[in-house]
């Protein structure tokens, strides 16, 4: 354990005098040892958060996060950075409320500016069943202290002046909106790097370019470690946090999980001067976006239908999202696409997350995250609790793997179909 180098204006000035040649490494690259108390697979958001809370809350520092590629290069490198808690179920809302709160405190907690910008999300509603769905969320969210308010169409347009489509003669006229003031965006890379720096300072290790080839079980069936491209690493506890590739790894331990891997559309526009200062979510049209501090519109859209481990998107899925966007924001016709990609994730049979110890004793998974970026801090907090204590954290009790034994689904989708 060592003290984290303090980042501040003062340190910037001090190092600036030295032409910045004196900055220490944000994290070290210690030699890989052959055994740890806990090995976490995947230095993405959930893996890093889990390591962070294992060290911080449970004092477990003999831990290693192993990463096939580069730290922060998982889905956390490819998501659309929306943090919110407007869910529908008793099982889900408190979890996301906690996650939002942990995100809000993160910059100071990690001494690393995650640029957390609590800028409110506005749902643009164009269909009565959707409004009913959102109002249903509002009442149940209120129980857990998450805010959701209905606003009129006029108010929606006042708060999003660029929303000039969806008028009375439009294919789907805007009928109103919902305001979620808890919602925020931040800087995804900063979250990964901030956690990595803190883990390193507390004595945890992060090993990049360390690809797990298989999970290794002992004679008693329990987990014994992981076989990597750099050799065998022993650990009595192994946590898999590799969104998208979960089944690829768990199959090596003989497990079959109710997950399939899918691909989500994401793209950014060229950077332009500030135009939209809230997160705009259009559930009926099927897209959402926010404008980054750099000025780019960061846009997320529909999933591709088939299973996919590609990090590319299909043209027709992309076009669906773009034309939906243009129907509400016709001025964006002149805006230009700058970059596009697909983020992949694994989705469970009931579309809710799975955080549990598997049938292989000592092997834990965190998976099934659909929009898992917002869940990173609470996911890490609760998985660390489970790994360290062997008991589920109260915020994640519903997200077990056991629920599938009785098909006891936690279904976030509500009754939104038409009459």
């Amino acid at each position: 354990m060592h003290d984290m180098h303090n980042y501040s204006f003062a340190s910037l000035l001090r190092h600036g005098i030295n032409k910045h040649t004196t900055w220490p490494k944000a994290w070290r690259s210690p030699p890989l040892r052959d055994s740890y108390d806990v090995v976490i697979i995947g230095a993405g958001g959930h893996g890093l958060a889990t390591a962070y809370y294992l060290a911080k809350e449970h004092g477990l520092t003999n831990i290693a996060v192993v990463e096939r590629g580069w730290l922060g290069g998982g889905n956390i490198a490819r998501n659309t950075i929306t943090i919110r808690s407007n869910y529908m179920r008793d099982e889900s809302i408190p979890f996301y409320v906690k996650s939002v709160a942990l995100y809000e405190a993160m910059t100071r907690e990690l001494n690393f500016n995650t640029m957390h910008s609590k800028r409110t999300m506005i749902d643009v509603i164009q269909n009565y069943p959707m409004m009913r769905d959102r109002r249903r969320r509002q009442h149940i969210m209120d129980i857990y202290g998450s805010t959701y308010e209905q606003i009129s169409e006029a108010e929606v347009r006042k708060r999003i002046p660029a929303l000039t489509g969806g008028g009375p003669d439009a294919r789907l006229p805007v009928i109103g909106g919902m305001v979620h003031t808890d919602a925020a965006v931040n800087r995804h890379d900063a979250v990964a790097w901030g956690y990595a720096r803190a883990i390193d300072a507390m004595g945890g290790e992060i090993h990049q370019q360390t690809a797990v080839e298989s999970l290794v079980r002992g004679a008693d069936g329990a987990i014994e470690g992981v076989q990597t491209n750099r050799g065998l690493i022993r650990a009595k506890k192994v946590a898999v946090a590799v969104s998208g590739h979960t089944t690829t790894l768990t199959e090596t331990a003989g497990l079959t999980l109710p997950l399939r891997t899918m691909n989500l559309t994401a793209f950014v526009s060229e950077p332009v001067k500030p135009l939209v200062d809230v997160i705009v979510n259009c559930p009926d049209a099927g897209f959402y976006f926010s404008q980054s501090d750099k000025g780019e519109m960061v846009i997320g859209g529909a999933p591709d239908m088939g299973q996919s481990f590609r990090r590319d998107i299909k043209q027709h899925v992309f076009e669906d999202t773009v034309s939906a966007m243009l129907s509400l924001f016709p001025s964006f016709k002149k805006l230009k696409l700058m970059r596009q990609w697909g983020g992949h994730l694994d989705i469970a049979k009931d579309a809710s997350p799975i955080m549990d110890e598997t049938d292989v004793p000592g092997l834990f998974v965190t998976a099934g995250w659909w929009g898992g970026y917002k869940a990173i801090p609470a996911g890490g907090l609760t998985l660390a609790h489970l790994v360290a204590t062997g008991r589920p954290h109260e915020l994640m009790e519903a997200f077990t793997l056991k629920r599938f034994r009785h098909l006891d689904y936690v279904m976030e989708t509500g009754t939104t179909t038409a009459r």
Partner: protein, 85 residues
């Protein structure tokens, strides 16, 4: 936009098809299998990093349900459906 080989129509744009999911093992007799076997059948699908056998419905074309092997890493169709009438 993949180009999916339909046994009746020949290769067609993916937009003419509806995705039917990966092919699961044949539906077991629900009265002849254990709870675990049944839930396993119901909740899990093959999710390989590589070729997966899956179904597509040529809904905007000839109506055929067809099966292909598609590589989930690349979308390459590594094995097409056999001929049909």
């Amino acid at each position: 936009m993949m180009n999916i080989p339909c046994p009746f129509c020949g290769p067609r744009n993916e937009a003419e098809f509806a995705f039917g999911g990966p092919v699961k093992p044949h539906r077991p007799d629900p009265n002849a299998v254990s709870e675990v076997e049944w839930t396993q059948y119901i909740t899990t699908v093959p999710n390989p990093l590589g070729p997966v056998e899956e179904r597509w419905w040529h809904v905007k074309g000839c109506g055929t349900w067809l099966t292909i092997w598609r590589d989930t890493r690349t979308h390459d169709i590594v094995e097409g459906p056999g001929d049909a009438g």
